[in-house]
């Protein structure tokens, strides 16, 4: 596994206009550290593009091809093909999109690029809502969360669906490599990025990247919350490789889900019985998985 000491000091992402403590920026910065300068980055609409690619604040130091919101994977496809005919197949093509850009409006294109078996790395930084537009529900918004389109009013309307399971959807594509990981675990995450780079064919990483602004949390807690998600068992670290789904981190003594929920503004309204229901679901999931 990657050692922090060995990681390059070179920064390819520097000076973004993101909120203080943005988890998405951490995800992108770490990934670029592994992939290095010989990378082309694709960013669609979303917080990262909005905060890293606005003139004159150009925070990314690899070629960045920005694209339309639904088009990250297909822009990746075009770059892969273009670099191939230009004899530059050694360049890593990296698509990075949010949960909305990946699991909602970009899913079809992603499925297509994966199915065609193109050679690329794709990272979905998951902050569990459409954050760039102010925090609307996406299909990755977890059960119980408040968003601006699942407001909490007289008629209860908080999000009532579980998260879309991106990793299993990719596994169903029999993708060469995919992982579910978290910015709180840099070694594991960066190791996934390295594997993804080395994979011949499509490789997709789904990384939890909390958003202090959207989650209603202190900017200093971004990493801590991501870690809590793992330690409570809410966020499973897993990989799909060689046709196999594998849990990559088994938490011995899972922390109570409540600890995670109570730390966040977006769950403020949740009655305790809902939290207990969530705890039960988590417990059942892990029982079933072991």
């Amino acid at each position: 596994m990657i050692k922090l000491q060995d990681i390059t000091e070179e920064e390819l992402l520097y000076g973004s206009l993101a909120c203080a403590g943005c988890g998405g920026i951490i995800a992108l910065r770490m990934a670029l550290k592994v992939l290095g300068k010989n990378t082309v980055l694709v960013l669609p609409a979303g917080c990262l593009m909005a905060t890293c690619g606005f003139f004159p604040q150009m925070a990314v130091n690899v070629p960045l091809v920005s694209t339309a919101f639904p088009s990250t994977p297909s822009t990746v496809s075009g770059l892969v093909a273009g670099l191939k005919v230009k004899g530059k197949e050694d360049i890593t093509v990296l698509g990075v999109a949010g949960d909305g850009g990946t699991a909602d409006i970009g899913l079809q294109a992603l499925s297509g690029s994966v199915e065609r078996g193109e050679n690329f790395v794709y990272i979905c930084y998951d902050n569990e809502a459409y954050m760039n537009t102010g925090g609307q529900r996406s299909s990755e918004t977890p059960y119980g969360a408040w968003t601006t389109t699942t407001p909490v009013g007289r008629n209860k309307m908080w999000e009532d669906k579980p998260k879309k399971d991106l990793l299993r959807i990719l596994a169903a594509h029999n993708i060469p490599y995919a992982a579910r990981t978290s910015i709180s675990h840099p070694r594991e995450y960066m190791d996934s990025v390295r594997k993804a780079k080395e994979t011949k064919g499509p490789a997709v990483i789904h990384v939890l990247a909390p958003c202090p602004s959207g989650w209603g949390t202190d900017t200093s807690k971004t990493v801590e919350l991501a870690r809590l998600a793992v330690e409570t068992g809410i966020w499973e670290m897993a990989e799909y490789e060689n046709g196999k789904y594998k849990v990559t981190k088994i938490i011995k003594n899972r922390k109570p889900v409540k600890e995670y929920i109570k730390a966040q503004g977006r769950y403020r309204h949740l009655p305790d019985e809902e939290i207990e229901k969530m705890q039960k679901q988590v417990d059942e999931y892990w029982k079933a998985m072991s």
Partner: protein, 394 residues
């Protein structure tokens, strides 16, 4: 009379949708529109409004769902902007071709790239041929009232055409101002329930959006065109009736602001019209016979009404907040085409302004009127298209 609120254009549209008793709302976020659907979802969550709120995964789906919901006979609304509008382009045409009176708010925003979130009219204008009625407003109040008028005209059996209400990003969508909220009862009097003849009914199984070979297609398009053209007079009537019942109206389809005796007239759409009225008044004070033709309805294009507003002018300027790339502003072309149809060839000039959020000030507008006075004197325009407010000239 209802209550008065200090709200922005997005909220105002949401109030309009609520008062119109829309039954289906498809929602997908995009700045600067999002507040509309957020506000509606709050209305619903608070029990103030009774509608199915579909949280779709893209705008193509938003419009597909609206198309289908309207086929069941439900009153249907969605809202979008810019990239979102472009992404649903195919379904926009499906909806209009099948004559489903969906109402959509488009918060006008420029198109990327260069990446932008700011105001111009390129988004709605670039859908001008798509068979949607388009109406532009200049204030939050007009946004609210017009939203309600939209349903009235769209659902008229002679029209049956979807309507897009266009309001300017930020300048209207995010600007709070004083808005009268009509009473529900007033609106219920104005807007009857939607009861289409052709809808999904298991007892009368229709094939909706059937295929037609060349032997029939053209006739459908002809009747669609006829229906759309009828919207001009029907909108005038609706606006007038709204005035009678609610107490506000907006001059029909072209607001004639001091045009009747004007030598120089600007044609504008959207929020700019508001500032321009100030400018007209101040020019009038200085003795210049200035006028403003505010185009509310852009599609169907009110050929006769715009001719009537402009016919006695000595010089006209058409202000476009968008560009038909490779030619000129589309409103300019359309206005000229309409005048031409009336054998009228007043010297005219096109001002391209405010692309990608560049502010258009009263000073800018004054300069445009100055230009028109110069043209009036010369009897002809030297240059037909002029960009106003460019940072550099070369």
């Amino acid at each position: 009379m209802g209550k008065r609120e200090f709200i922005n254009g997005n909220n105002a549209v949401a109030y309009g949708v609520k008062l119109a008793r829309a039954e289906i709302v498809a929602a997908y976020p995009i700045t600067p529109q999002t507040k509309i659907v957020e506000q509606i979802s709050e209305f619903i969550s608070n029990g103030e409004m009774n509608a199915e709120f579909i949280k779709v995964e893209s705008e193509h789906t938003a419009m597909s769902a609206c198309y289908a919901a309207s086929c069941t006979g439900a009153r249907t609304f969605t809202a979008t902007s810019s990239q979102g509008l472009l992404y649903m382009f195919e379904m926009m045409q499906f909806t209009s071709g099948q004559r489903r009176p969906v109402v959509m708010a488009n918060v006008n925003r420029a198109i990327s790239p260069p990446w932008t979130i700011w105001l111009d009219h390129q988004d709605s204008i670039s859908t001008r041929d798509a068979g949607w009625i388009q109406i532009y407003v200049e204030s939050a109040q007009e946004a609210l009232d017009t939203t309600i008028q939209c349903f009235k005209v769209a659902e008229n059996k002679e029209v049956l055409t979807p309507v897009m209400i266009c309001l300017d990003a930020f300048v209207l969508s995010h600007t709070e101002e004083l808005v009268d909220i009509p009473e529900q009862a007033e609106i219920d009097r104005f807007l009857p329930p939607f009861e289409p003849d052709y809808k999904v009914d298991v007892n009368r199984p229709l094939t909706i959006a059937a295929g037609t070979a060349p032997n029939l297609y053209m006739e459908f398009r002809f009747t669609q065109q006829q229906g759309m053209l009828k919207a001009i007079n029907l909108w005038k009537k609706a606006d007038e009736e709204f005035g009678r019942l609610v107490g506000r109206s907006y001059g029909g389809v072209v607001e004639n602001y001091k045009c009747s005796d004007a030598d120089v007239i600007l044609v504008t759409m959207g929020s700019l019209s508001s500032t321009a009225k100030d400018v007209v008044d101040s020019l009038r004070e200085q003795g210049t016979r200035a006028g403003l033709a505010k185009l509310r309805l852009y599609r169907p294009f009110p050929e006769k009404e715009i001719f009537d507003a402009l016919k006695s002018a000595k010089a006209i300027g058409v202000v476009d907040r968008s560009l038909s790339f490779g030619f000129e502003g589309s409103v300019f072309s359309d206005v000229k085409a309409a005048l031409y149809n009336n054998n009228c060839c007043i010297p005219g000039v096109n001002f391209i302004v405010g692309l990608g959020g560049r502010d258009v000030t009263a000073d800018d507008l004054k300069k445009m009127y100055d230009k028109l006075q110069y043209i009036q004197k010369n009897g002809k325009a030297e240059q037909t298209v002029e960009f106003i407010g460019l940072r550099w000239s070369e």
